[in-house]
């Protein structure tokens, strides 16, 4: 439907993933830290402990510079990167939830204007007024969380929306409530790590340093435990069955599990140390904890994304940016059904017809059919796979690429057009793939292009036995 941006060196979806991981850390921190600071400031006010304001100043400065503005920036960054990489995916979300996002914008404004006012008026207005500012920041941050969780959950579990097309049903979807509370709890763990980092910058003999680190450790531990409990018992229960099934396929790499487990254990240990022996935490250990948390969040967010493969919105629009299931309640028909009849070439705005494709210029291909096949791979496969040299980074002899098609085909010894064509005919039998969209000529052209790419990127085939290509749990990445 739109021009394709494959990425450059790095695949387009990896740009989204990295920016999103930064965003999650920064945005979660704004919520959790706001509540923690409110707690600390309340104690400072009620118990007349002015030293605590020194911590609040450090924390507010850090939040102002890093968390709030970086949170907003990376939020826009997610839009920009998804707009470039998968415009119709983000379009579906925007057109459903524009006014929810508009509402979230007000909460963002409260956050950013609020932290500026909070920081610049610290110890310049009366403590009671300033405590109110802290409370507003906590509420505003929680408001942003409330409004974004519905949109995030919708992608994985649109629920009744698939039947009634109602925006409210899509927003308050089956994973909304558990995810809401799970994220709120997780934020306390992120905040714990943040507060430890900020407090560790205070002098070692500063009277309140130990107290703050201990509070942060306890709150963080409680939050982490609550998040895990809610996630396992409530959130997991509401994830669609098809998505759960994906976790036992090769679409979900084992390394992601390892990252998650190791990350959670180390985070818990760091928080435990803070609660038990607060004076042992140093700035280095606090930074280390933050790094571990970032990696864990990256793994967790990747898992959430994998759970709805190959769809952008589970059961409605897939990664190739086509609506595969109509939405009768809104008068929307399946686009794939129509394109199966007409073929995709020349029937989508930015997909040229076969006779418009010149094999000789400006990129040279061995045949016209291969040039046509490249266009089909770009349209149908590049949303998830590296399909050309453009999204490969060479490190010595190793090619680093996201779900590189030629490597996956080589792995199952699909080296020639005939075997690749057989695979294309049965794509829909894989749990993490949909059927090919288009006609037989287009399947042939795609097979010819992939044969060319396997040979070009992977070299001559070896005689090693092929890996199984069983549809369930096979070795083909989705």
């Amino acid at each position: 439907m739109y021009p394709t941006w494959e990425g450059l060196g790095v695949h387009s979806t990896m740009f989204v993933a990295v920016i999103a991981a930064f965003h999650v850390i920064a945005s979660h921190l704004t919520v959790g830290a706001a509540w923690f600071n409110f707690y600390v400031e309340r104690r400072a006010y009620r118990e007349n402990r002015p030293e605590l304001y020194q911590y609040l100043r450090k924390s507010a400065m850090g939040l102002l510079v890093f968390s709030y503005v970086w949170g907003a920036m990376t939020g826009v960054g997610i839009w920009q990167s998804t707009t470039a990489g998968n415009p119709r995916g983000i379009s579906t979300l925007i057109h459903n939830f524009v006014l929810f996002w508009g509402s979230e914008w007000y909460m963002f404004l409260i956050d950013v204007v609020g932290i500026i006012v909070y920081y610049y008026t610290l110890e310049k207005v009366d403590p009671k007024t300033h405590l109110r500012l802290a409370f507003i920041l906590a509420l505003g941050g929680t408001g942003t969380l409330s409004l974004i969780v519905g949109i995030l959950g919708f992608k994985l579990s649109p629920g009744k929306w698939l039947e009634n097309g109602e925006v409210l049903s899509g927003f308050y979807n089956p994973t909304f409530w558990p995810q809401y509370f799970m994220r709120f709890a997780l934020m306390q763990a992120i905040t714990g790590a943040w507060a430890i980092l900020m407090a560790s910058r205070l002098p070692r003999d500063f009277p309140e340093r130990r107290h703050i680190i201990r509070w942060a450790g306890i709150i963080g531990l409680v939050g982490l435990a609550a998040a895990l409990l809610i996630g396992r018992v409530w959130y997991w229960h509401n994830i669609p069955a098809r998505s759960k099934g994906l976790l036992s396929t090769k679409a979900f790499p084992a390394v992601t599990v390892q990252i998650l487990v190791v990350g959670l254990v180390f985070t818990a240990l760091g928080l435990l140390l803070a609660a038990w022996r607060p004076s042992r935490h140093t700035r280095v250990s606090a930074i280390g904890m933050f790094f571990v948390l970032f990696t864990t969040v990256f793994g967790a967010e990747r898992t959430r994304e994998i759970l709805r493969k190959p769809d952008v919105v589970n059961g409605y629009i897939s990664s190739n940016q086509l609506v595969f299931n109509g939405l009768p309640a809104r008068g929307i028909e399946s686009e794939e059904a129509r394109l199966d009849e007409t073929g995709i070439l020349g029937h989508l705005p930015f997909v040229p017809a076969a006779d418009e494709i010149d094999a000789n210029a400006p990129k040279e291909f061995p045949s016209h059919e291969i040039a046509v096949g490249r266009q089909i791979a770009i349209m149908e496969c590049s949303g998830c796979h590296s399909v050309s040299d453009q999204t490969v980074i060479h490190v010595g002899d190793t090619q680093v690429a996201l779900r590189q098609q030629s490597a996956l085909l080589r792995k199952i010894s699909a080296n020639d057009a005939a075997s690749i064509r057989a695979l294309i005919d049965n794509l829909g039998t894989y749990p993490f793939m949909h059927d090919f969209v288009g006609n037989d000529d287009e399947k042939d052209a795609l097979a010819a292009y992939l044969e060319y790419m396997v040979d070009r990127q992977q070299g001559p085939p070896t005689t090693l036995p092929p890996t199984t290509i069983a549809p369930t749990g096979g070795s083909h990445g989705g």
């Binding site: 450059l8 740009f15 907003a72 470039a84 119709r88 925007i94 524009v98 007000y106 409260i110 400006p362």
Partner: protein
């Protein structure tokens, strides 16, 4: 496939959740706020570099203030940019998504450029500005902000030239999926919108600053008079150039989009009117509120001119905002309406606290009883918002079938 058909097909099948013209109005209003802060960041950054390069007592004092202002303006520019981006995608999705995908690399890099610029501005404010060190960070910040502005300008320029998309994307039918080319730009437009509006925004900010600071008992009136005089002078010169750049924009892109006369006359006259405003007020310390009102009015005119150009460019291909499919979704409307009331109340309260806190020195600062009472009500409304959010959720889960 004809451009008309392509544009129609590219519209999201879900349509908009409310009357599309309302989104267009929201786009104009929110863009005005956004562009004010963005251009203020550019202008403040230039002012900082200028002050530290010149090195006089007042110049340095002013430069330290603008060094402090720059990162805050960038931050507010980013957060206020979310809303127009949102409404733009709702009613202009075909052109915005196409231009972003065609310029994919820069579209994605944009946020890294902004983030780096913001970081540079903060590094200079925190580490450099007290003693005038690390001026290169401020220069780097300015260059990055200008690059970010250039990227957005290219995205906008590409978006209103749909007849050229196919040729840019797939010459000879072979797709270029790198997204690294700057396919379209207009020098008059970018000069008008970025450096000249930057100069005017910082001039206006200077007038507001002097008006505000002059209210304090401990105000240094000589310094404030000096700042206001400079702001006025910058305002006069920049307004005249603004008028010329507006004419340039109108005669080039305006004419290309068949609204050359309208754009040329409007923007040319706008610049002259602003120049007259600055020239006629000979006591600039006192005109802060009038100046900001005039400037927001001017930015609203520019926002409408942008819409006129866009509408005219797309009308050629039968694309009209008024024709955008929509289906009123009352749940969304209620959520947005209630949040708007709560959000605006809280933001007004926050601004009032900042305003009153800055009127007196630190040990005397108090918040008036009226503002305090308003704050209590606004905070209560924000708390009650969660109850509303919960009730809507219960309705969606229990009642909607």
């Amino acid at each position: 496939m004809e451009v008309d058909d392509a544009l129609r097909m590219m519209r999201d099948p879900l349509g908009a959740p409310f009357y599309p013209q309302v989104f267009q109005v929201l786009l104009v209003i929110t863009w005005v706020i956004h562009i004010f802060f963005v251009t203020l960041a550019v202008g403040a950054s230039v002012s900082t570099i200028w002050g530290f390069r010149r090195g006089g007592e007042y110049e340095l004092r002013l430069a330290r203030s603008t060094a402090r202002l720059t990162p805050s303006a960038v931050g507010l520019g980013i957060v206020t940019g979310i809303a127009p981006l949102l409404f733009l995608q709702t009613i202009y999705d075909p052109i915005w998504y196409a231009s972003n995908a065609l310029t994919g690399f820069w579209s994605v890099i944009f946020i890294l450029v902004v983030a780096s610029g913001y970081t540079c501005a903060y590094v200079f404010y925190l580490k450099g500005s007290p003693e005038g060190r690390l001026l290169w960070t401020s220069v780097a910040g300015l260059v990055l902000l200008l690059l970010a502005g250039w990227i957005m300008h290219v995205l906008a320029s590409v978006s209103i030239r749909p007849e050229q998309w196919r040729q840019w994307y797939a010459p000879d039918g072979v797709a270029d999926t790198r997204g690294i080319q700057f396919h379209a730009a207009n020098a008059g437009r970018v000069t008008f919108l970025l450096p000249l509006q930057g100069a005017l925004s910082v001039a206006i900010a200077g007038l507001v600053y002097t008006w505000y600071r002059s209210k304090r008992a401990d105000a240094d009136r000589e310094f404030l008079t000096w700042v206001a005089a400079r702001a006025r002078r910058v305002g006069i010169v920049a307004s005249l150039l603004y008028s010329a750049a507006g004419v340039w924009w109108g005669l080039t892109e305006g004419a290309e989009m068949k609204v050359g006369i309208e754009v040329t006359v409007t923007l040319g006259a706008l610049g002259l009117a602003l120049a007259a405003f600055f020239a006629l007020h000979r006591n600039p310390v006192a005109i802060g509120p009038r100046a900001i009102a005039a400037w927001f009015g001017s930015l609203a005119v520019v926002a409408v001119v942008r819409e006129v150009i866009r509408s005219s460019a797309l009308a050629e291909f039968g694309y009209r905002v008024a024709d955008y499919p929509f289906r009123v979704d009352w749940g969304s409307v209620a959520m947005f309406g209630v949040t708007s009331v709560v959000g605006v109340s809280i933001i007004v309260y926050l601004v009032l606290v900042l305003y009153q806190a800055g009127l007196r020195s630190a040990d005397q600062a108090t918040i008036s009883l009226r503002v305090d009472r308003f704050g209590r009500v606004a905070t209560g409304m924000l708390g009650a918002w969660f109850g509303f959010f919960l009730l809507v959720g219960l309705y969606a889960v229990l009642v909607l079938k």
